[in-house]
């Protein structure tokens, strides 16, 4: 085994904590839903496509977003639910583009299946728009090399994993995730960085995602 390479820059783990802010906006029909999706802030689209996954980790790989869940379970529009659930969030580096995609999926469906315009939610089952307020805080965990990094990965919260994978990629409009960035730029291991960047976080539970990352790094450490 070769000695562990010390990183050019240490990796500091951050955590990202959310507070849910109510907008007071609600939709009863698909028409209202799509109209409000056009209007709400990006942090609301983020909330309904990302927070949902985090709050309902055990769902994955079932409906990965709130919109899919609502149209399926409340409006009974299973086909639209499937179309929304299968949007490949990995493709979208910006919330703006993701929002446009969701709008086009719903509007196409409304054109294709005209009677779906007549469906409405019962009182109390409307779609309530919420937005996320995020607090980004540095933790005390710092890794200087890959072995330390793997050890810390086992301990940090899901919120921290979330910040470095999801928040970094999408909300902050970075293309790769923080882990692969650091491994490529500070450890110079492009192969490992690419392997981590290729993980699709949207079809796994966070626990599975943590396990997959640790597995890939442990394998690399063993090879060294």
């Amino acid at each position: 085994m070769t000695p562990l390479l010390k990183a050019k820059e240490p990796f500091r783990f951050y955590t990202r904590l959310h507070l849910s802010e109510l907008t007071g906006l609600r939709a009863t029909t698909l028409g209202q839903l799509v109209a409000l999706i056009k209007e709400v802030p990006g942090s609301s689209i983020y909330h309904h496509t990302h927070r949902f996954l985090q709050q309902h980790q055990f769902f994955s790989p079932e409906p990965p977003n709130d919109f899919a869940y609502w149209v399926t379970e409340i409006l009974g529009e299973k086909e639209l639910g499937e179309r929304l659930a299968s949007i490949d969030i990995m493709q979208f580096a910006k919330i703006h583009d993701l929002r446009e995609k969701i709008i086009s999926v719903i509007e196409e469906y409304l054109k294709d299946v005209r009677f779906s315009q007549l469906k409405f939610a019962r009182e109390g089952e409307e779609f309530y728009f919420i937005k996320s307020v995020s607090f980004v805080i540095p933790t005390d965990h710092v890794a200087d090399n890959l072995a330390d990094f793997a050890l810390i990965m086992k301990e940090i919260t899901f919120d921290s994993i979330y910040f470095h994978i999801f928040e970094a990629r999408l909300r902050l409009e970075k293309k790769a995730n923080d882990f692969s960035n650091w491994i490529e730029n500070s450890l110079g291991d492009k192969e490992l960085a690419d392997e981590l960047a290729a993980l699709d976080p949207y079809t796994r539970t966070l626990d599975d995602l943590r396990g997959a990352i640790i597995g890939i790094i442990d394998k690399k450490l063993f090879e060294q």
């Binding site: 955590t15 904590l17 959310h18 507070l19 849910s20 802010e21 109510l22 907008t23 007071g24 906006l25 609600r26 802030p41 990006g42 942090s43 985090q54 709050q55 309902h56 980790q57 055990f58 769902f59 079932e62 869940y69 379970e73 109390g124 089952e125 409307e126 309530y128 919420i130 937005k131 996320s132 307020v133 995020s134 607090f135 980004v136 805080i137 933790t139 005390d140 301990e155 940090i156 919260t157 919120d159 921290s160 909300r171």
Partner: protein, 403 residues
Amino acid sequence: MIRLEEYIPIVGQSVIEDLRLIAARLKGKTIQHINSTSVGGGVAEILNRMVPLLQELGVGARWDLIKGGEQFFEVTKKFHNALHGYPGEITKRDFEIFLETSQQNINEVDTCGDIVFIHDPQPISLVKKRHGNKWLWRCHVDVSNPNEKVWNFLMEYIVRYDAAVFSAPSFSRRLPIRQFLISPSIDPLSDKNKELPQDVIDRVLLKYRVPKDKPIVTQISRFDRLKDPLGVIEAYQEVKKYIDCRLVLAGGGASDDPEGALVFTQAMEKAKNDKDIHILLLPQNDIEINALQRASTVIIQKSIREGFGLTVSEALWKAKPVVASNVGGIPLQIKHKYSGLLCHSVQGAAFAIKQLLNSPAYAKKLGQNGREHVRNNFLITRHLKDYMLLFLSLYHGEDVVYL
């Protein structure tokens, strides 16, 4: 006194570390909670645990009470019911009584906190005293369909706050101030929720003469029309045609509540020909409630209205499959077919109970999912985190805050 480190085996070291990271950003601030009672009711129960934990984290926290006579609390009870949407006349005199007592409290209560955190409508008028500090109004009531007269009266005060906090999205309305969603929580270390040895559970069953020979279906609730105990019996009767089981309806004392006593009598009457129905009027004994929940095969919460319905989280924390009405905060706790089953009627409840009794593997999976959902979202540690973030949000208006 329970200490933070005791939660580590349940939520993990890193969750507690996060609490310390946030708390460090609140150093030097004093959070002043104000409500109307120090004992009884969900607010007092939460504050009794929350305030010492905040103090342990190094956040200045204090808890003050307003005063009020019998008449004042009769009026605020009327307000409470009206906010829940009950019909009932609120008179001009009622508002006068509220204003008179409110003025006395404005004169007497020292609102010196950096953040003054007002719980429920009783102390709402204290905001007239604001003097450069931050003010939060925490609404613990279901205000999805409030009596407009009372709501409009309260709005005069609500708009003076920096932000309002609600327990469920359906309670939110368009307001000119920021509003946040913070669910209440259960304490996994409390007598009501902690692990119990089997012999304790068995002793409670023996005490209340509930044999373990058949599956037990249970609803824990006070005898209140809004908890629909008669509907629960009807659902059980539907199930009983196909599956031999027992029903336990257990709840707190109703002796000082005339309507509660009537509902209890009606439930007894409806159940009188079935020895497998156990209607238990329990004293306030959290261990016994805990034991009955743990002894159950399926737990029901067939409420017609709910503020939040924390009995659902209590049941899910015990990994029990739950059938519950789709009202109030219940849909936050149960995602249908993933962490429990939601229903809208007696027939729907009966069908769901039959499904769970006939499919133990499915029931087990829902219960396990439910427990993890509660671990992530409805324990006191999450509540503490949300409250501290809420306090920080008062000093930051942006959607992404770097600390």
